[in-house]
Every structure is written in C-alpha cells, then in structure tokens.
Amino acid sequence: MSKSEIDTLYAEVQRRMIENGEWDRILHLLSSKLSESGWTDELLHRAKDNSGTMDPLSLRAILQQLLSHAQTTVPLPVKREITILIKQFVKEQFDK
C-alpha cells in the first residue's frame, strides 16, 4: 500500500470510529487505564515541575515538551489492550 492509500484508509477508519461513538468509548477506557497506571498523575507532576522554572510561562510550550514523553511512556499492557480494541473495530467495519 502506498503512503497516500494508507492516509486515506486511516482517515476513513477515524471518521467511522468517531461517528460511531466508538472513538469516545475507547478513549474513555484508555483514560481510566492510564489513570490507574499512574501515567496521568506522572504527567501532571512533570507539567508542574516544568512550569515551576519556565519563564515566560506558556501552556503551549509545556504541551510541546510533554507530547513525546507522554506518547513513549504509555504502559505496554495498556497499549496492547487498546490496540486490540481498535483492531476489532477495523475488522468489523471492513468485514461488512
């Protein structure tokens, strides 16, 4: 598959998932698992730390600083579980 084909497919899957409400339901589950694992609190902690020494204080800068850390520290078991749910959805959609 070419990159543009993948992009088109991704956009389509995303559209269906959002319209279906499945996006919100999976996100809700992801939020609760991340909170239970301590990921959310660790990020909050880090944001507070960073903001303590930042001058001028900028939420935008904090967001940029935290984005890659946030993505790489998602616990593997959580990642696996959510990936399975997404795969299930995609499979259901394209089996029809």
Binding site: Q14, R15, S35, E36, G38, E42, H45
Partner: protein
Amino acid sequence: MSASPDSTHAALFGDENTLSTEAHPGATPSISSDVSENDTARCSHIASVFADPSAKAGITDKYRTVVAWYAQRTHDALHPAKRRKISSPTCNTCDQTLSRPFVCLHCSFAGCWLEGHILNHLTEAGHAFSADVKSGSVFCSECDDFIFDDTIDDLYLATVVSVEERNTKFQVADRGREPYQPWVLSEEESEALKDAITVPCQGRRGLLNLGQTCFLNVILQSFIHNPLLRNYFLSDRHNSRLCKHSDCTCCEMDNLFTEIYSPTNTPYGPTSFLATTWKVSAEMSGYAQQDAHEFFIAALNQIHGTCRGSTNISCNCIIHQTFAGQFQSDVTCEKCGNVTSTIDPMLDISLELRTKSGEAAGDNTLASCLRRYTKAEKLGAREYSCSKCTKASHEAVKRLSIRRLPPVLSFQFKRFEHKTSGKAAPQKIDAPIRIPVTINMAPYTTLAMSMTGKDAEAGVPGPDAMYEYDLFAVINHEGQMDNGHYTNFARFQDEWYRFDDDKYALDCLPLPYDLTFGRVTPSTLGDCLASNAYMCFYVKRHLDYKPYMKPTYRLARENDIVREQAMEREKEAARMKEVEDTLMAMV
C-alpha cells in the same frame, strides 16, 4: 463564603474573589467585583473585547454553544440511547474528522490543533480567539498562548454543569436535579457585606502534638481540608457560642475552624478537642498512641450526635450528608437463582490488601483493591440457606457493591492484621498502594454491576461527573503499630501540602512509581507515599442536589426556634404569675 447551592469545583478551586495565599492580619480589602482588573497575567485582548457588551456576548454565546454541544455529544457517545450517528465536524483545512475540535470564536471555522490548522486560520483570518471544546481552554493568537480568564472559567463550569443536570437520569419524586444558580448579592446582602472584613478562603496551621496525638492531628487536618465540612462550619451552621450542649464535639469543630481561619499561622494545639474526645469516648483517653481510623469513626459519631437535628434513622446532619453512603450485599443461590439483597449504611470503606488466601495481591492500586472488594465470592456450604429453595445447605455467591456514593469517600487500607496465632503483636502490611489523583467510581456501584447485556452497552446512568472523585487528603503511617508516626498530605485548590504535626510545607504529592519503559518500579524518593498511605479521602467533583428540599437539620432548627420561643413565653408568664401571687399574699 461560597453560595449555596454550590459545586464542589467552585468550592475546591475558589471563586474569583480569592485573595492572596498568606493571612494578612489587619488587612481590610474591600470586595471588588472585578479583582482581575489589576491582574497583569490576564490577557488584555480578551479584557478589551469583554469591555464591549455586544462583542462579549458574541464570544460568550459561541463559547457556550460549542462547549455544551461537545459535552452533550460526549455524553451521547458514552450512553448511546439509540443507534445514531454522533455529529462529527471535519477540519476546514484538511477535511479529516475532528476527534478534538478547536473552534474559532469569531467564525464557523473548526480545525486540528496538532497539525496547526486552527492556528493558521487565526493568523490568516485575523481572528483572535479559539477554544478547545473539550477542556474549554481558550487560545489567544495575540498572546500566542492559552489564556486564563475568570469569565471564561465560570462560563465553562456553568455550561458543563447545566449539561450534566439535563442528563441526570436519577430522579427524586419525578423531579430532575435542581439547576445550579450562581449567587447574586441581594440589596440586603450587599449592604451587610459593605463594611465586612474579608479573610482569605484558605486557612492553614500546623497542629501541635500534645503527646502521641499525631493520630488526632492527621484526622483533624483531613476535616479542615474537607470542603463540605469547611463550608458548613465557616458558614456558622453550628455556632459554639449559642450551643447549649456540654462536651459538644460539634462546638469543638467550630472552634477548630475559627482557629485555623484566624489571622495567625502559628501552630495550634487542639487541647479542648482532645479533652472533649476523652470525655465522650473513654476508650480514646490516655496518652498512648491511638489508631487514626478508630478516632476518625469515633469523631464522626460524636459530631453527628451533637449536631442539631440529627436523628438515628435517615439522619441528615452534616456528617451523614458528607460521608454517608450505602453498601448492597447480594447473595445469589446457585440452585434456584434467588437473590437476597441487604442494604447497609456506611461512613467509609475499609479495603483489604491481601487476597482471601492471605497472599499479597500483585497489582496494588486503589482500583484493584476496589475490584477485590466488589468481587463475587463463593460462600461455604454451611454459610447460607436459601429462603426460596428451602434446602439447608448449598452453594451461594455473595457480592458487595456500592449502592449510594457519598459526596466524600473515605478509604482505609487494612494494614494492621491481628494475628490470633503466633506473634501477639499485630503485623503491619507495608504493601505499597498507588492512589490516583482522580477516580471514577462507576464500575463499583450496584447499578453498574446489575447491568448485563444490552443494558450494559448504554453504560451506567449518567452523567459521568456523578462518579468522578478528586483526592484531597492522604494519611500516612510510618513504623509499626505500637510505635509509629502519622503524617498527612492535604490539598487546597491544586496545591498539595505535607503536614507533620506542627510543621507543614508546600509539597508535591510524591509519586510512588517511576514509569520507565513501561516497567513499574518503586520510587527512589525517601518519602514514598505509596507504602505509607493508610487512609485517603476523595470528594465528588460536582455535587448534585435533591430538588427543592430543605435539609432536615434546617427544619429541625426552625422547629426548635418555634418551640424555644413558646417556652420563653411560658416561662415569662409563669414568672409574672409568681410575682402576682407574691403581691397578693402581701396584701
């Protein structure tokens, strides 16, 4: 203080008239309705727009509409009533369906944040403000950052709460929730407050250790930082100068809050609280170290007992309004499927740290403790006999769940085991527990557990906010049972403080775990919160009120006043008669 009804959010995060964080003895600032006028951190661009009423309306109307739309949409997605498409706007630049829409507050543009589409629009169109519809955060293109504005914050909260109110399925006597109304000062109130001295809405003092009384201090700090108790006592609901009880713990609470909110911040010694506790609960007396949880329960009972209008059944005193919830225990007969349900009141939840077989559990988080607590367990053959089958002994399954969630959830981790065999001294279980800053209690409720199949897809009756709780205090215990020390963490707004008797300091809630490469390892911090947490307290994020009802303690107070006045009249009449009789006798 805050208006009634009020949401926990406003109580926790203060209203816009919050003054400085330090107590200023002798300061008499006036109540300005626009304190933020002189706040240089405020965005001047939005301030100038808001100065013009019609421009302000343009922005706020749009803001309110999009925030309400998104809140309703999220609710619908999580509680699907019918199979229907969720409205999903697309980005005006790249056409992708927006999972996290940012909208322009000046035109109909909506766009992606990460790819920069919304920001490009603001620059190209010369529009200043855009809002993240989920969090309500407003971005100002002139400031080139997200801004903080009281009007926006209030509007966000009011809008979100209003959507929650509309979507609350729980009803009392066929009536929905009473809508939140902000406090607007009446003429009388304005007049009364004109010359009032304002005090900061936060108070903080260390508590002196009076001889092994750290157990008392940590519980008192948890009361002081409890928004519902604080609001009750600061609004003079139990005035110790008018109370006629002796040895009244409710008066001690009133005195405690008076001391904490007084202009001094030197440590305070709660001597009369301790003395009253000894008088009322003999088992708590003496200078030995007591168990903080035991004291907690004793104190709750004492305060309840001395509260005006408290009753033994369905009490509505401040303690019950704050802490009282209900458990439900369901026993299912495996033979006939008959379910026997028992409902019990509770003021707190005590959680086991070990599995039934006595081993330490693998993953220790508050959520895993709650799952263990609400897990179905088989009852032994002789423990149960079904009323329906009328057979003596057979298999049954018992399950606990929370039927009613109180506004304040108190958890105790059962760290002290009393071993009946072997060592005489109780062993302390030091297993670390991860306590999250927020928790959603829906999965542990009776309602959630009773939903099966199709029902379960619709989720627990909403809104979600009814199940969301925020941590505000943690009590730690170091050492062994007999010679340990209690300290605590407590929060005001979003600042955490660590208290150690008379000493306290601004502190971060230390994280128990380092998240490195997805592995979970204990923190290297000396002060590890996780292994010491003994009790913790959460408060519901948004309070929900029974519609149009007067609390029984208020009714009781009104009846008391009527009765007292009648008694006064009788006494007066009797006295007059005595005087007359004496006069007559002299004649």
